[in-house]
């Protein structure tokens, strides 16, 4: 089941990536080459197998923790904003999103 140019356009939109026509063409060839090697995986019988998310869960229970819902970090707005592309009066600037 090969990907089509339309698929590439749809995925690029989901991934919020603008691709040039030549990039899209190359991407199509490379992704189809990649999914050829993925085919062997789809044939494996995995019925009854639980997906493994934290690898150490293969041998013991791994509980994901929640920490207390309290502020732990001091306010360091200036340090946090020093690498921001556009800031004004301590706020991040973005293009207008609501008309």
């Amino acid at each position: 089941m090969a990907l089509t140019p339309q698929d590439i356009g749809r995925i690029a939109n989901l991934a919020r990536l603008e691709l040039t026509p030549s990039e899209s063409e190359r991407m199509l060839t490379q992704l189809n080459g990649f999914f050829d090697i993925v085919e062997q995986m789809r044939a494996v019988d995995t019925s009854g197998v639980t997906p493994l998310a934290h690898p150490v869960a293969a041998i013991q229970d791994v509980a994901l923790r929640l920490r207390e819902d309290v502020a732990s970090e001091p306010n360091q707005r200036e340090a946090n904003q020093q690498s921001a592309p556009a800031v004004e009066r301590g706020l991040f600037l973005v293009p207008k999103v609501i008309e």
């Binding site: 590439i8 989901l14 090697i37 995995t46 997906p51 493994l52 690898p55 732990s72 592309p85």
Partner: protein, 497 residues
């Protein structure tokens, strides 16, 4: 100071010289900063900041004088530019983060500093740690105006391996006694093998991922790279330990002194030899070096036990589904809003995202984001991502089965020695396929090492991979150390360094 040059000393020896005050931390830092600059044509370093380095060194000299010094007091190290650091740019090898200044240090960086280590600078790597040759870095190395290849000091027309390529080169060329790396699918072990040094990736969850710029969260692990297992043990002891408030996958396993068992006897150690690692894809020169190391182990009293890891081949598609899926999610934070690159011209918010990401990410990163977005998308999630997670458990179970009959597993790290720069240039699949021997251990989250085992084609180094069961880092380091007591491959140096 003795007549041996400072850069010939390993971490253990250098730490002793510093403690005995035969050399100062400032002298050591200056020596390695000068070497980093003298050999900047290798492309290993992307940033230094002598003011910060020397201030850290002076503080360590004071701590040594005051008797409050940590185990690594004054030892200069450098960090893979995946770890965020205050005072040095943190770029992950990406144009997206060019010039990015982190407001905090990664936990691993803090822990090493607490042990007394002094930071020399940041080391080149593949963009967001995605690559097997360090050919995917978008950052200009120190002394360059544009991105340039990282060169293997054993043959400068060859790749150093990746993604921790700058890290491996810095150790091999004696530009730092030890460094940090990260391993998602082999990114510590493979460059260590290609550059003739020693590296270890601990059990997933032992080293905090806080401040390690995320690639694939269920696989990423930090580890040290140095010349010997003894030196790796010193750094790893400082790097591991729970980080419950900052990394939700950090395990509640206490820090450990990984140096304690280095000299234990390995008489009777059962070394599992997976048949699947010695098939037709393995180059004869690599096989000869690996077989030589295994013979040394037999001389030391170890027993070789045939084992099977039947899903080795499947680890390639499984890894290259899971890692890109997690990457596409992690890298969604790079949208040009709060930090990093933002496109100059755009029409609206979505257009800003798309142009920012198109400009900021390199080809390999875009490919993996595309694969990841696809396999997580509606209608494909079960067939790809969930199926891969299920086979991942089968691969982990295969290891548990194998460890019933052996204590450690040994084999090659990679099918060949380091290839020539540009050789895999237009074929990303060639890089993926070359990861075959490191991916199974990564998917299972097991600790793994690369230990210098000899030389192959073109005089290039060959590493022996050692894999242990969960939390068996000390046993791996013990096995590696005993091999290094019997061989001198880890002491060889590339000509001119």
């Amino acid at each position: 100071m003795t007549s041996t040059a400072l850069h010939d000393l390993g971490v253990a020896q250098l730490a002793a010289e510093l403690r005995e005050r035969r050399v100062s931390a400032v002298e050591a830092a200056q020596h390695f900063l000068a070497r980093a600059q003298a050999h900047q044509n290798l492309g290993a370093y992307v940033a230094v900041n002598p003011d910060i380095t020397l201030a850290q060194a002076r503080a360590q000299d004071a701590a040594i004088a005051a008797g409050t010094a940590g185990p690594l007091a004054g030892v200069p190290i450098a960090h893979k530019d995946i770890f965020v650091t205050k005072g040095f740019p943190s770029t992950a090898g990406s144009k997206m983060l060019a010039g990015y200044q982190s407001p905090f240090d990664a936990t691993v960086v803090t822990k090493l500093a607490d042990a007394g280590a002094v930071t020399l600078g940041k080391l080149n790597c593949d963009e967001f740690a995605m690559g097997s040759a360090n050919e995917n870095s978008a950052v200009a190395p120190m002394g360059f105006d544009a991105p340039a290849p990282v060169r293997n000091p054993w043959a400068t027309d060859r790749i150093p391996g990746g993604s921790s390529g700058g890290s491996a080169v810095a150790v091999a060329a004696r530009l730092a006694p030890a460094v940090t790396g990260t391993d998602t699918g082999g990114s510590i072990r493979q460059p260590a093998s290609f550059c003739g040094i020693t590296g270890i990736k601990p059990t997933y969850g032992r080293a905090s991922r806080y401040g390690m710029i995320a690639f694939a969260s269920s696989l990423d692990q930090a580890g040290p790279m140095a010349r010997s297992a003894e030196d790796c043990a010193l750094l790893l002891s400082a790097m591991c330990g729970p980080d419950p408030d900052r990394d939700s996958t950090s395990l509640d396993v206490p820090a450990e002194n990984f140096s304690a068992k280095l000299n234990d006897s390995i008489d009777g150690l059962r070394i599992g030899i997976p048949a699947e690692f010695f098939g037709e894809g393995l180059a004869p020169d690599v096989r000869a070096a690996v077989d030589g190391a295994l013979k040394e182990y037999e001389k030391l009293g170890a027993k070789l036990v045939p084992i099977s890891l039947p899903r080795t081949q499947l680890s390639i598609p499984v890894y290259y589904i899971i890692a890109p899926a997690e990457a596409s999610s992690n890298l969604s934070r790079f949208d040009g809003v709060k930090f990093g690159h933002r496109a100059k011209d755009y029409t609206d918010l979505v257009d800003m995202y798309k142009k920012t990401r198109a400009e900021g990410f390199g080809d390999e990163v875009k490919r993996r984001i595309m694969i990841g977005a696809y396999v997580l998308s509606h209608g494909y999630y079960d067939a790809y991502y969930l199926q891969a997670q299920k086979i991942r458990r089968m691969i982990a179970d295969d290891f548990q089965n194998a460890f019933k009959s052996c204590d450690v597993i040994a084999g090659p790290v990679a099918p060949t020695v380091a290839w020539k720069l540009g050789d895999h240039g237009n074929d990303p699949l060639a890089d993926y396929l070359a990861d075959i021997f490191t991916l199974p251990g990564s998917l299972a989250g097991l600790p793994g090492m690369s230990v210098p085992a000899g030389f192959g084609e073109g005089g290039m180094p060959v590493g022996l991979q050692l894999l242990g069961n969960y939390f068996q880092e000390a046993r791996l380091l013990n096995a590696a150390h005993r091999l290094q007591q019997a061989t001198d491959f880890h002491l060889r140096r590339p000509e001119g360094f």
